[in-house]
């Protein structure tokens, strides 16, 4: 109770400072709109459905790209951790590509796929896959070998060992890798939507882009806030249950 009150107080005072700065007329209201005008934009965009449909378009791209990225990245990470050949080839490739900012994939995706959904999907997948590979690989390598030994004496065969021992044992790393992958997917998608105009659907990134074109700062800030809120919600909905499970089982996360 006390914690949530303090948190609310913090955010209320943030908005208060913001509106005080606007009242002080230090910057032109074109550059810094008042909280109220941003709120009004969000309300009206919410009412006429643009916000909703843009969020759906964006989330659809994000979730499908993320899911594919996980489906590729997890097995690849398991492979790099178990075979020296894959480690020396795919592992090195993953390490290199992970350092490449995902925006860098946009020009390539445009030339390969044109201004299509495929280009979007490609950028999101490239943003996700490599960090998931690296996290899975690290996770598997960090497990105490005694778990696998114990499982083998109980009659665990390779497939059973991988699915029932290695995967759950590396769960703490997997979840943080999946979280990182999610953040990278989100970032790469926003970059792609801002740079790539495609006709099959306007996402939040496009709304942001048009806000800039129209000099509509209330729209720019409003959309940014929506993006932040979606990111927060996704974190709470997708990852919090896992993290709570990990903390309970492993006894971590206590202060």
């Amino acid at each position: 109770m006390r914690r949530s009150l303090l948190a609310i107080l913090f955010f209320v005072s943030l908005v208060a400072i913001w509106s005080a700065i606007v009242r002080g007329q230090i910057w032109s209201p074109v550059l810094l709109p008042s909280p109220l005008s941003v709120w009004n934009y969000v309300l009206s965009a919410g009412r006429d459905g643009t916000l909703f449909s843009a969020s759906i378009v964006t989330l659809r791209r994000l979730l499908s790209g993320y899911a594919i990225g996980l489906a590729i990245g997890l097995p690849l990470g398991l492979l790099t951790a178990s075979s020296t050949f894959v480690e020396d080839t795919i592992g090195v490739l993953a390490l290199g590509l992970q350092t490449l900012p995902s925006v860098c994939w946009v020009p390539l995706a445009l030339l390969w796929f044109g201004q299509t959904e495929s280009a979007m999907l490609f950028v999101v997948i490239m943003g996700t896959v490599w960090s998931v590979v690296i996290a899975t690989d690290t996770g598997v390598r960090t497990i105490p070998p005694i778990y696998a030994r114990a499982a083998r004496t109980m009659g665990s065969r390779p497939f059973h060992k991988w699915t029932r021992v290695i995967l759950p044992a590396s769960l703490p790393y997997l979840v943080s890798g999946m979280k990182q992958g999610w953040a990278f997917a989100w970032r790469s998608l926003m970059a792609a939507e801002i740079y790539v105009t495609i006709l099959t659907g306007f996402g939040l990134g496009h709304l942001l882009h048009y806000g800039r074109e129209l000099n509509a700062m209330d729209q720019v800030i409003g959309i940014m806030l929506v993006i932040i809120v979606i990111g927060l919600l996704a974190d709470k909905i997708l990852f919090s249950p896992w993290e709570r499970f990990l903390h309970r089982r492993w006894g971590t996360g206590k202060r």
Binding site: G155, P168, R249
Partner: protein
């Protein structure tokens, strides 16, 4: 197999280690870990292997478990050569090898789920029975990190006993525990052994532990690991860890260990 048999029947077991040798090849040198180890374990016998650290006793246990392969010789369990690890020879490790992603009950169920021919309701019964046997019926839902060191090893014991292995291999299972907890567990293990009559091979560097638990004590010496001497301990059970007889046996074992160490120092010099 019926539930009744699962909970009661002592399975027949006999284990023969035949002329087992093992070398570990490292970058600069080859370490001769085990040299011509032979050993016969009767069914229901409690064997303790004592030796200083680095004498290869854990390696021997790994070979018997099937986790390592001998370079020479072989291990026969029930007239079958041991080629792979399997649930007939379960290992209880020194450090807690409990799985942190499962609770106490889930850990005991892990091995049972790998055992065919049981219904799931029977598996749950068996798991409960063994958690009860080690005195942890109130901690079935507990997470691993919530258990004390002694409780963890009790769960590990229940996990190793539950699939009803023919041989239980214990690799210094109590080495990391404090003295009080350890003494309690000596009582427990003797009580459970009386009840279940498992064939047990127990590895330790603690001579008193050896005297307290064993039917036969094998004295091992390092580089290369050899069995140097065998002692029979015929004291009645349950044995009190702090009794004078145990202390007397322990000092005999210590003298033997020291004797071999001195002899080796002279011959190696």
């Amino acid at each position: 197999m019926s539930l009744q048999e699962e909970l009661q029947g002592p399975p027949p077991a006999k284990l023969i280690v035949e002329h087992v040798s093992k070398w570990f090849r490292q970058k600069r040198q080859t370490v001769h870990a085990l040299d011509d180890i032979s050993l016969e374990v009767a069914e229901g016998e409690f064997i303790v292997i004592v030796g200083p650290s680095g004498c290869g006793k854990s390696t021997l246990l790994d070979i018997i478990a099937g986790l390592e392969k001998p370079d020479k010789g072989q291990v026969m369990a029930d007239n079958q050569p041991v080629l792979n690890p399997g649930r007939h020879r379960l290992v209880m490790f020194q450090e807690s090898a409990l799985f942190p992603w499962l609770n106490a009950f889930g850990n005991v169920m892990f091995g049972l789920k790998l055992k065919p021919g049981l219904r799931n309701s029977e598996r749950r019964e068996v798991a409960k029975f063994f958690l009860h046997l080690v005195g942890l019926e109130k901690f079935m839902e507990a997470n691993v990190h919530e258990l004390s060191g002694g409780m963890k090893q009790r769960v590990a014991l229940a996990r190793a006993l539950a699939p009803n292995p023919r041989v239980l291999l214990m690799d210094e299972p109590f080495a990391a525990l404090d003295a009080m907890t350890r003494e309690q567990l000596y009582g427990d293990i003797q009580r459970i052994w009386e009840k279940r009559r498992k064939t047990i091979i127990f590895v330790t560097h603690n001579v008193r532990e050896a005297a307290c638990l064993a039917d036969r004590v094998m004295i091992m010496s390092p580089t290369p690991g050899r069995i140097r001497e065998v002692f029979e301990v015929t004291l009645p059970r349950p044995r009190d860890f702090n009794s004078i007889q145990i202390a007397q046996h322990a000092s005999k074992l210590t003298a033997a260990l020291k004797g071999h160490a001195e002899h080796d120092a002279v011959t190696n010099a």
